[in-house]
Symmetry: C2
Subunit: 340 residues, 2 copies
DNA sequence: TTGAAAGCGCTAACAC
DNA sequence: GTGTTAGCGCTTTCAA
C-alpha cells in the first residue's frame, strides 16, 4: 500500500460489491456502466474519502496533475534569488498559486538537461519555459521527449512555434516616447546579453522606433549577471560617447546602476538625461529619483501560460501566441520638473 | 512506456546482460552484487542516460522526491496573493528555490483536508506546514496518515512537538524597547485573530515585557483579512482609549492602517506615538514615515525547515526546534527626531 | 552472486 | 453492463 491513502480502489470495490475496474470506470466516467452502479460506486467512494493514488494513476496514464517551471534566465544567471530582482520570485509565487487554484501542482525545476534534476522532472505533465534562449537545449529536450510545453517569451529562431505568451510592445514604445520627448532626440538602449526574446524583441522595437524618428540607434549591452555594476560600467561608456537625452535599460538592476553612475558623475536626472527601465522592482520604485518602469502583468501572464499549457496537455491546438499588456509607470526619472 | 523516459530499467538490463533486479540493486546500492557487475551496470546506465521513473519508483517505495508546502495563514485568508503582504510570496519562492537546489521539488498545496487537492498531495514525501492553528486539521491529517511534516511556528497546544522552526524573540523585545523608550511608558499591541504561534507567542512576549516594566498591557486585535482598514479601525479604538507612546502591530498591513489613521487624526508619528511592526513589507519600508519592522530571515528559515523535513523523511530523530534570528530594521516611525 | 517473480494501485482492453 | 486480466516501471523477497 502506498502511503498516499489508506483506502485503495480495491477497498472501494469490495465495499460497493463491484470489480475494481467498475470503480475506475465509475470515477473516471469512462467505459460503459449503468448509471445506477456509477452513482452507487461514487457514493461509496465519497463516503470512504477515496482518492486515486496519483503515482499509480500516473504510471498508467502518464499524467500526474503537475507541471514544471524552468526559468532560463535564472539558469543562466547561476543563482536563483538574485538581489534586487523580484520579477522572477513574483512569477514563481504567482504560478505556484494559480496552479494550485486549478488543482494542479507547479514546481520549479532547474535546467533539466544537466546534472541533478528532481526525480519527478521527466514525469511531469508539461512545462512552462520562461525566456528560452536561441536553440535552447531545454526546449530540444521537451521536443525530443514529446513533453508539452509553452514558453514565456517567443522562442528565438522558431517563428513557427506559437505556444507562447509575451508582452505587448505598446508600453515599451510609450517609454521610448517619454524618453525621447518632443522632436527627434537621442535615446540609448541598454540591453542584456542573453540571447532571448526579451533582449532581441526589445532591441527590435527600439531600432524601429529610432528609424521612425530618424535618430541614430545607440545600443549598449551589459551582462544580466553584472547587475548594478554592469549598469554603471555601461553608463560610463555611454557618457564617454556623449550623453543621450534618455537611456532605456531593460533590466531594473542595470537601470539603477546607470542612475547611480550618472549621479556620481554629476549628471542631473531627469533634467539632463532621463532614465526608464523595462523591468520594475522595489529598487526602481524607490530609488531617488524613482525610475519610470514597465510593470508587467504577472497575474495575466501566469494565467495565459497555464491556460495554454493545459490546452496543450489536453492535446488541443493552442490558440497561438497571447500578448499581455504591461503598464508604464511614470516616475520622477522621466519627469521634466526639477527634483525635490 | 511512461512518457518519462525512453529508456527503462529493462533496456539497461538487456544491454548490460543482466536481470532488471540486478540493475535496480546496482543503481540503488542495495542487495548483494559483485563489485564488477555493479560497476558495469552503472556504466551502461550512465551511458544510456537512464533515470528511474519517479512514479514507478514512488509506487514501490512511496517516496517521490517532492514535498508540499501548506500556508495555513493563506488558507485562512481565503486568498493566496493578498495585496500589501509579501512575506508569503517570499517564503513560497524561497522554498521552491532551495528545494530545487537540493534536488527536491516543492509545491504549494491548498488546505488538503478539504475539497479539491492536487492529485499528488497525498503522495508527497513530506510537508511544511506554515503557521498551524490550534488543533489544526491539516496537522491531524498528516499525523493520521503518517506523513512526515515540520511546522513553521510552533504548533499551539502541542508543546511536546519539536519539529518546528521559529523566530528568536530578541528582535521583538528590541522593538518593544524602542517603542517604550526610556522609563516605563505605555505600548499597545495589535495582534491578529488567527490562533497560531505568531499571534500567541508575540502576545506572550509582549505581556512579559509589560510585566517586566510594570506597565499595564493593552492588547487589541484585528482580523488578518481586514488588512489596512482593520488597522485603521483598531487605531480608532486605541486612540479613543488614550494614545499610548508606542503601538506594536504584528502584521504590516495593520501597521500601515494604524499609521494612516493616526495621521488622519492629526497625531504626529513618531513624535507623539511611535509605530513598529513584526512583519516587514514593501509598504512598511516605504510609507511616510517608513515603519520600523522586524525583518525575518526567510532564507535561514527555509533552510532550517527543509533540513528538518529531510531528516524526518529519512526517519531520523530531528534536532528539536530551531530558532532563526530576525533583524530589527529601525526606521523613521520610531525615530525621536522630527520628520522631514 | 544472480535471476525469476510477485506486486505497488491503477487503467484499459477484452471476455463474458 | 460487468468482471477478468494484462501490464505501466520499479523494488524486493525468495530460489537457484
Amino acid at each position: 500500500m502506498s502511503r498516499a491513502s489508506g483506502v485503495t480502489i480495491r477497498d472501494v470495490a469490495r465495499r460497493a460489491g463491484v470489480s475494481i475496474a467498475a470503480v475506475s470506470m465509475a470515477l473516471n466516467g469512462t467505459g460503459s456502466l449503468s448509471e445506477a452502479t456509477r452513482i452507487r460506486v461514487r457514493a461509496v467512494a465519497a463516503e470512504m474519502d477515496y482518492q486515486a493514488d496519483a503515482l499509480a494513476r500516473g504510471l498508467r496514464r502518464s499524467s500526474v496533475g503537475a507541471v514544471g517551471i524552468v526559468m532560463r534566465a535564472l539558469d543562466a544567471l547561476g543563482e536563483y534569488q538574485p538581489r534586487g530582482v523580484d520579477v522572477f520570485a513574483r512569477y514563481i509565487a504567482t504560478m505556484a498559486t494559480q496552479a494550485m487554484e486549478r488543482g494542479l501542482s507547479a514546481m520549479l525545476v532547474p535546467d533539466p538537461t544537466r546534472g541533478e534534476r528532481p526525480p519527478l522532472a521527466l514525469s511531469l505533465d508539461g512545462y512552462i519555459v520562461a525566456q528560452p534562449v536561441l536553440d535552447d537545449p531545454v526546449v530540444a529536450l521537451f521536443e525530443r521527449r514529446g513533453i508539452p510545453y509553452v514558453t514565456l517569451g517567443r522562442d528565438p529562431g522558431r517563428p513557427d512555434f506559437t505556444d507562447w505568451v509575451g508582452e505587448d510592445p505598446a508600453a515599451t514604445i510609450r517609454a521610448l516616447d517619454l524618453l525621447g520627448g518632443r522632436g527627434a532626440r537621442s535615446v540609448a538602449l541598454l540591453r542584456g546579453t542573453d540571447v532571448n526574446d526579451w533582449n532581441l524583441e526589445n532591441e527590435q522595437i527600439y531600432r524601429d522606433w529610432c528609424a521612425g524618428r530618424g535618430v541614430r540607434p545607440r545600443v549598449y549591452t551589459a551582462a544580466e549577471r553584472d547587475g548594478e555594476s554592469g549598469g554603471r560600467r555601461a553608463a560610463r561608456v555611454i557618457s564617454a560617447e556623449g550623453l543621450p537625452d534618455g537611456i532605456f535599460a531593460l533590466t531594473g538592476r542595470h537601470a539603477v546602476g546607470v542612475l547611480h553612475e550618472l549621479q556620481a558623475q554629476g549628471v542631473p536626472v531627469p533634467t539632463r538625461t532621463m532614465i526608464a527601465t523595462a523591468s520594475d522592482s522595489e529598487h526602481t520604485r524607490h530609488s531617488r529619483p524613482a525610475i519610470t518602469a514597465i510593470e508587467i502583468d504577472v497575474d495575466g501572464t501566469a494565467r495565459a501560460l497555464l491556460d495554454l499549457l493545459q490546452a496543450r496537455i489536453r492535446g488541443e491546438r493552442a490558440p497561438g501566441p497571447v500578448l499581455t499588456s504591461a503598464r508604464l509607470r511614470r516616475r520622477a526619472s522621466t519627469r521634466p520638473a526639477p527634483q525635490r
